[in-house]
Amino acid sequence: MPDNSIIKPVPYNDITSLAAGLDALELPSAPAGAKVKGIFRALAPFLAVFLVFVIWEGIALLRLQPSYVLPSPFDVWNALSDQANQGLLHVSALNSLRRGAQGFLLSVVIAVPLGLALGLNGTARAIFRPIVTGLQQLPSVAWVPAAIIWFGLSDATIYAVILLGAVPSIINGLISGIDQIPPLYLRAGKVLGAKGLRRIVYIVLPASWPGFLAGLEQGWAFAWRSLMAAELIAIAPALGPGLGQMLDTGRQLGDMALVLGAILVIMVVGVLVERLVFAPIRIRTLRNRGLITVK
């Protein structure tokens, strides 16, 4: 028979122990890690790339077309290493990346105040949103001829085209981020005393961040595309090398391997920026807010 006398009676109102018990029951126990799955996920994209190269090489080996029309992956590799040996590859890539990054950052600086104004003020939105949407619909390469007439073959032309491509996307991202803020957070912010600029800094911007971040990602993609279009058309010694210029060199020389190589590099740079810059920020944001659990 159990001896009840050794069980210490706990008073009904002992809140500390009650809280500790309830909290222990309500907090989830730590989930088991899935490391193997993580490694597979990290390597999975390379599998697809490998597969594409195998198929490509297979088709090239069939010699359906001469190699100046359909070069093999090895021809492309040789063309790129040729560029690298001349010191052109990394200079071009870095130059383009620098222009893209600078243009993108400038776009953010311009787009944030405009996005806030349009996101928070209904009248401003009613008047200006159609212009922003119109600009977003227009492929920014359409601005290249105009920019060349205005600014000549200069950096200004390239940045103008990047801005016209990226700014509307970022503005629209910020607006939709603001639209998706749960009203409760705005009310809570008001009750806590966040007014005016404090409301924007401490409540509106962080609350709209998931949508805003999506707009930034799209803005970067548009900036990168616009940059390539601008570099492809605006070619002058003063502008220096770039990936777009490399593409055009390939076209002028009729060097299909170089053209395909430049396309590959443009894609790889785009993917790397997404993977190394945006994806970690996006995953951290979603995880912090409990919008994804395991990914």
Binding site: I15, T16, E26, L184, L192, N288, G290
Partner: protein
């Protein structure tokens, strides 16, 4: 516990408050009068459409009254049915931000500005007050509903307001957790001497917590009757005296609700 007597000057006085959202629209609150004294705990019960939430929104400055006056220089904290913790901050940072915002708001008056380290220490202290010293670095989504509401209580306390407005704060919790939060709230109230205006449609909860229970009518919201709750805290929600008083109040509430049957 703060001793409240009729002579203590009120911390909040609402007189002849009326609210309708537009001239032709329905009257939400009609001739509402309430005196809240320092350290007093008042429960406000009513069915849907009695304007309870509207009243709290007006008192918290989220909405304005159509006519009537609200006297009282004190700012109020407001708690919602959902914790309204900001999901991009940790539990501790939520409280730190509240302290910072209150400081920024009060700098024109006399309050001193706390350093970051002082804010952090104060936030930790407040979390310990609601028995959550260990959750400083956890995000809101990592906490249970009851824990989130306790963090929300700590956040409301952090702004040093003398009045705490609560809009059905425990309605979404399970019964065991709600019971526990009642204990926590009463203890915090006794330790801080806050004046609390607690809105609920749970009559037993109103009796369990309040020193006074005020029953409101619906459409328009008006005060029908008021009860003193003479029992000492801590009370139990399942005690016979709480049940008896809740029984009487529920009878009145049902009479009021039946009036709306067509």
């Amino acid at each position: 516990m703060t001793i409240v007597s009729a002579e203590t000057p009120p911390i909040l006085e609402i007189s002849h408050l009326t609210k309708s959202f537009n001239q032709a629209g329905p009257v939400i609150l009609e001739d509402f009068n309430l005196t809240l004294r320092p350290g007093e705990f008042v429960s406000l019960v009513g069915a849907s459409g009695c304007g309870k939430s509207t009243l709290l929104n007006i008192l918290a400055g989220l909405d304005t009254a159509s006519t009537g006056t609200i006297t009282g220089s004190q700012k109020a904290s407001l708690m919602f049915q959902e914790s309204a913790l900001l999901p991009w901050l940790t539990a501790g940072q939520n409280i730190e931000l509240a302290i910072k915002l209150a400081d920024l708001e009060d700098t024109e008056t006399e309050e001193k500005f706390l350093t970051k380290a002082e804010r952090k220490a104060k936030a930790q202290e407040l979390l310990e007050m609601v028995h959550l010293g260990q959750v400083y670095n956890l995000r809101p989504h990592e906490l249970s509903g009851g824990m989130r509401q306790r963090v929300a209580i700590a956040r409301a306390l952090s702004q040093n307001r003398k009045i705490l407005l609560m809009d059905e704060p425990f309605a979404a919790l399970d019964a065991i957790t709600r019971d526990h939060l009642h204990d926590q709230l009463i203890r915090v109230w006794q330790e801080t001497g806050l004046a609390v205006l607690f809105v609920t449609h749970n009559v037993r909860e109103a009796v369990r917590l309040g020193q006074r229970v005020i029953l409101m009518s619906s459409r328009p919201g008006r005060i029908i009757r008021e009860w003193e709750v003479p029992f000492r805290q801590p009370r139990r929600i399942d005690s016979p005296e709480v049940a008896d008083l809740a029984h009487d109040i529920t009878d009145q509430l049902r009479i009021e609700i039946r009036r709306h049957a067509r």
